[in-house]
């Protein structure tokens, strides 16, 4: 939602839009987590699984963020198009 808002309507370059988006997601996730945790009587969270995901994801996030500056704007848009397209098709077919 945050990426098209910037790229299509505010004409923000793709590189800044991607970086701004992930920075904006941080407070949203921090706000959503306690709501999700305390809303249910038994919190639906597997912390061991979460720790293993995080072990991989923080390395991937660091490398991905470092790589962003190296990718030309047009190629970056094409990558975003493919990733959003694949996720969109998945949500339509397997909701």
């Amino acid at each position: 939602m945050l990426i098209p808002l910037q790229v299509l309507w505010a004409k923000v370059p793709q590189r800044h839009a991607n970086a701004n988006s992930i920075v904006a997601i941080l407070p949203i996730a921090v706000a959503a987590l306690p709501i999700y945790y305390f809303r249910t009587r038994t919190p639906q969270i597997d912390f061991r699984v979460g720790a293993l995901l995080i072990a991989g994801s923080v390395v991937g996030a660091y490398l991905g963020a470092r790589l962003l500056k190296q990718i030309p704007e047009r190629q970056l848009k094409l990558i975003v198009m493919v990733v959003l397209g694949v996720i969109g098709i998945k949500e339509l077919l397997i909701p």
């Binding site: 995901l53 991937g60 969109g88 339509l92």
Partner: protein, 129 residues
């Protein structure tokens, strides 16, 4: 370390990498890694995904600030608006069946992919800015 653990670390790496480059939270990959990869129930996968998104987006954000990719004012306003939107969205979401929400979201993503792709095809190749 079992194969189950390896799938989680690799799936986490892929989700983190997309978070760093594309700017998505990572949930789109975290959740299928847990449900399809190791057979975790959907509600547990969604809750666990939220836990994983926080440190992932924190590492992406710090690295992006370091590399001057971030426009702080835009990120600040989107983040602030997003917190309000997330709470309002959650109130609406509980009233709408999950599959309908997912399909509306999927349609929106496909439309966005088409519009961003159209921009890319109109744009000549250029050096990194």
């Amino acid at each position: 370390m079992s194969w189950r653990d390896v799938i989680l670390v690799l799936g986490g790496f892929a989700a983190g990498f997309l978070s760093g480059t594309i700017g998505i939270g990572g949930g789109a990959l975290f959740v299928p890694t847990m449900t399809i990869g190791i057979g975790l129930p959907q509600p547990v996968a969604q809750g666990t995904s939220l836990v994983a998104i926080v440190p992932t987006s924190l590492v992406s954000s710090v690295t992006h600030f370091w590399h001057r990719n971030v426009q702080p004012e835009a990120a600040f306003w989107m983040g602030g608006g997003g917190v309000v939107g997330a709470v309002l969205g959650a109130l609406v979401a509980v009233e709408v069946p999950g599959p309908i929400l997912a399909r509306v979201w999927g349609g929106f993503l496909l439309f966005t992919a088409y519009r961003i792709g159209a921009q890319a095809f109109r744009q000549p190749s250029q050096k990194v800015g």
